[in-house]
Symmetry: C2
Subunit: 352 residues, 2 copies
């Protein structure tokens, strides 16, 4: 179906308020763009809900996981991904780092009147491709259109359900003194890519977002090390956000080694120029895993054997903290020590 | 916690970009407003996902239902509700009309920089109250903040999971010739209320939205009439939208009687003045149920016994349609007939 056969889209190929009105124009947009991209059976009667046999879910594990995120990234498209891949990866990863196998996603779109339909098509296509790569289906959704000026282009909210494997007891509060912290690769790529893509920094660097679904990697890690204590994806707030939460929730000191942090020279360069710290930059395909020290080598090997974990590295260790003194300590390259504080505000608005 | 003790909120009590940054200001907003309103245990470690024992879900039924909606209503607050009650009711109702018992909701907020924190608090409080009334918990969420001008106040996306009772086979495609169509009460209240609340029509009428969670009503109906064919809540696109979808999916003619449609005189008056049709006005607490003719009296009695079904009425009947001739026919008060077409565009932008 070409853009022109979707009622409500004019010769200029742009979204109109009619596409959010609950009538024929909206149906045409959903059928012609979203169902066409996401559904195995676009002609099936459209119910307002997706359904799953409980027996099929129970065959995957003993607990259901449920998570949601809105995405408002600016620009909508950037090297390495777009708002759609970000949304699919973000929700898949929130499920995966909790030990869940992602089963299905919903996708709710808020579109601005005047948005180019071709952009919507590209974003839907990349969401579909990303979902396929993650082995997850986009099964239900919603479309709203707001007048020009009431929303900046396109926002999408993805919600995911997944099933947690039996016996898996991952929690941000489960870190123990002696455990090691591993990351699966280069830090800060997404934040640096968005910064460069905004184009107002006159940086002559093209960096790609690390946006990727991590469920294959987390499955491999859990297969190798069933007693992983905790995993978290290091999105907004970066690795600093994850580690400060870990220290607080697990009542430990997290001691990390700056020299061990994997950071691309280009990202380090961008950070140096702009006075940013890669520890606080957002990632969209990076996680921190906490594992018992005895399992560190096995965990590292399992991660490195996966394409998304080739640069995995042990970056630190958990230690006993005096009551009320949980914190993250960083040993810098010159032998000094500093406390890594929780990010306070917004380094980069609309990073995801 | 007063507004002033939430970091990032100035003396003017307004949201700043820091509240979406993934750091301490965002944590404070989530802890001080959202968890305070929604959580039984606000001090528990914050995981990025909510979890449910599969055995508890399986005890409720044999299928999981999953549905999502974004809400962009303007104004945010109106007689009879606000964007928060709308979001909770909308998602609860999408689950309920599929025969599911709602179990849990997620809530993802997109806030504009400069939004009054007091508004956010009020909306969170009414979501919590509405969720309590519906017997459902808000278990996970997300908060993004976009710069002034990139979003018009506050958008919220709610996603729900529920469990469908065994044997329930409700579908928009299940209507059969001979079945009757029942609505649970007055039509068009929400659409008319929003129109009046916008204040640019100089109408001297105050109408309240009918915004309400319908799961109690649907449970009562399904208890009385287990073989309900189909239920749909008549939101965007109004009853006309639901009935035209029903005719198309079930391959039937839907014949309705204008004189039988329950419409408040005030709503009929607003429609007359503005040239609108109550059939197309949005509802947020109204559903159409299709039941076998033999069960019509029992269904009607069950609905009328419920506070949200006191004005329930049989409004029409399904008839055999010649192939390709499915449609909705309305018999008007003067003995005439007209075809009710699917809504095409947007009568009232940002109605939900």
């Amino acid at each position: 179906m070409s853009d022109h056969t979707i009622p409500g889209v004019g010769a200029d190929g742009r979204i109109t308020l009619a596409h959010g009105g609950g009538g024929t124009a909206m149906r045409a947009l959903i059928d012609g763009v979203f169902l066409r991209a996401f559904s195995d059976d676009p002609a099936a009667p459209q119910e307002d809900q997706a359904r799953f046999a409980m027996a099929d879910l129970a065959a995957l594990g003993d607990r259901l996981a449920f998570t949601t995120d809105s995405f408002v990234v600016d620009p909508l498209e950037f090297p390495g991904g777009d708002i759609g891949t970000l949304a699919v990866c973000g929700t898949v990863n929130d499920l995966a780092v909790g030990g869940a196998r992602p089963v299905a996603l919903s996708a709710a779109f808020i579109l601005a009147e005047g948005l180019d339909l071709a952009v919507v098509r590209r974003i839907a296509a990349s969401m579909a491709a990303c979902a396929r790569a993650a082995g997850v289906r986009i099964v239900t959704g919603d479309t709203k259109v707001v007048p020009r000026g009431a929303c900046d282009g396109l926002f999408v909210t993805t919600t995911g359900i997944g099933v947690i494997r039996p016996g898996c007891a991952i929690s941000i509060a489960s870190g123990r003194p002696g455990d090691v912290v591993i990351v699966n690769g280069m830090l800060g790529d997404h934040g640096a890519a968005i910064l460069c893509a905004r184009g107002d920094l006159a940086l002559d660097v093209t960096l790609g977002s690390d946006c990727a679904p991590l469920n294959g990697l987390t499955e491999a890690l859990l297969d190798a090390v069933p007693d992983v204590r905790c995993m978290r994806d290091a999105t907004r707030g970066g690795l600093a956000g994850v580690l400060t939460e870990l220290a607080e929730a697990s009542l430990v000191t997290v001691r990390i080694d700056e020299a061990a942090l994997p950071v691309r020279p280009e990202v380090a360069g961008v950070c140096e120029i702009l006075g940013l710290d890669p520890l606080y930059l957002a990632n969209e395909g990076k996680l921190a895993a906490v594992v018992p020290a005895a399992a560190a080598d096995v965990a590292l090997a399992a991660m490195r054997a996966h394409p998304l974990g080739r640069d995995a590295a042990v970056i630190g260790r958990l230690e006993t903290a005096a009551p009320g003194r949980s914190a993250v300590h960083l040993a810098n390259r010159f032998g000094g020590q500093r406390v890594v504080s929780m990010p306070s505000g917004e380094q980069l608005p609309r990073i995801c």
